[in-house]
C-alpha cells in the first residue's frame, strides 16, 4: 500500500546551519508529494508541494526536489533560523482523496 517514511524523528541543529529532512514514499500511483509544517499548538500548514520529477520547488527558504527514480522528496534549507523549530510532515496523495502522512520530524533549532 501507499506509505511515507521519514527516518528522523528528531533533528537538533544550531542556528545558521543547513538541514535536510528525509522523505521517501511508496505508491503505485503517480505521486503528489507535500511538506507540511506544524508549529507548537497550531494546525499544520503547507510548505511545499510537487508532482513534477526532478524539478526543485521552493518556499520561505525551504526547497525540495521530487525524484521518482529514488521515490524521494527530501526537504532542505541552507540556513535554519530559530523560527524554523517545528514538526515537519511529508505527505503523499494517492490521487483519490486519500492522504498519507509520515511520522513527522521534529526540528529543534538552538541559538
Amino acid at each position: 500500500g501507499d506509505s511515507v517514511t521519514q527516518t528522523e524523528g528528531l533533528v537538533t541543529l544550531t542556528k545558521g546551519l543547513p538541514v535536510m529532512l528525509n522523505c521517501t514514499y511508496q505508491t503505485t500511483y503517480s505521486p503528489f508529494l507535500f511538506w507540511y509544517v506544524q508549529h507548537l499548538n497550531e494546525a499544520p500548514k503547507l510548505l511545499l508541494k510537487s508532482s513534477t520529477d526532478n524539478k526543485r520547488t521552493e518556499h520561505q527558504g525551504f526547497y525540495a526536489t521530487l525524484h521518482k527514480s529514488s521515490s524521494s522528496f527530501h526537504l532542505q534549507k541552507s540556513s535554519v533560523q530559530l523560527s524554523d523549530s517545528a514538526l515537519y510532515f511529508c505527505a503523499l496523495s494517492d490521487g483519490n482523496n486519500r492522504i498519507f502522512f509520515g511520522d513527522g520530524t521534529q526540528l529543534v533549532v538552538k541559538p
Partner: protein, 114 residues
C-alpha cells in the same frame, strides 16, 4: 476569504460517553472535507473524507463515524468513547479540482478521554 471553524476547542470526556465534534467551512462552496486524528506529537492519520453532501468515505476504522449534513459542515461522532480516542482532531478542506490540492487545516479540537 475562506475560514474554517472547529468546535469545541477542547473536550474532556469519560470512557463510554458519546462524542460529537463539528467543523464548518465558510467562503468556499463544495469543498472536499477531511477529518484527521493526531496523537500528541504524532503523525496525522486521515479518518474520513467527503467530496459532497451526504457522502462520506471511511479511511480507517477507529469506532468513529462522520457525516456531512450540509455543504459547509462536517461532523465526527461516536456513541461510545475509548481511551484510545484521546488526541487532537483536525478538520481540513481542499479545493475541488483534483488531488494536488493543498489541505487547509482548522484549529483542531483537543480531546481527552478519562
Amino acid at each position: 476569504a475562506q475560514t474554517i471553524h472547529q468546535w469545541p476547542v477542547a473536550e474532556i470526556k469519560a470512557v463510554g460517553s458519546p462524542l460529537s465534534l463539528g467543523c464548518t467551512i465558510k467562503g468556499k462552496s463544495s469543498p472536499n472535507l477531511y477529518w484527521y486524528w493526531q496523537a500528541t506529537g504524532g503523525t496525522l492519520q486521515q479518518l474520513f473524507y467527503s467530496i459532497t453532501v451526504g457522502q462520506v468515505e471511511s479511511v480507517v476504522q477507529l469506532n468513529l463515524s462522520a457525516s456531512r449534513p450540509k455543504d459547509d459542515q462536517f461532523i465526527l461522532s461516536t456513541e461510545k468513547l475509548l481511551l484510545s480516542h484521546s488526541g487532537f482532531y483536525l478538520c481540513a478542506w481542499s479545493q475541488d479540482w483534483g488531488n494536488y490540492a493543498e489541505q487547509f487545516f482548522g484549529p483542531g479540537t483537543r480531546l481527552t478521554v478519562l
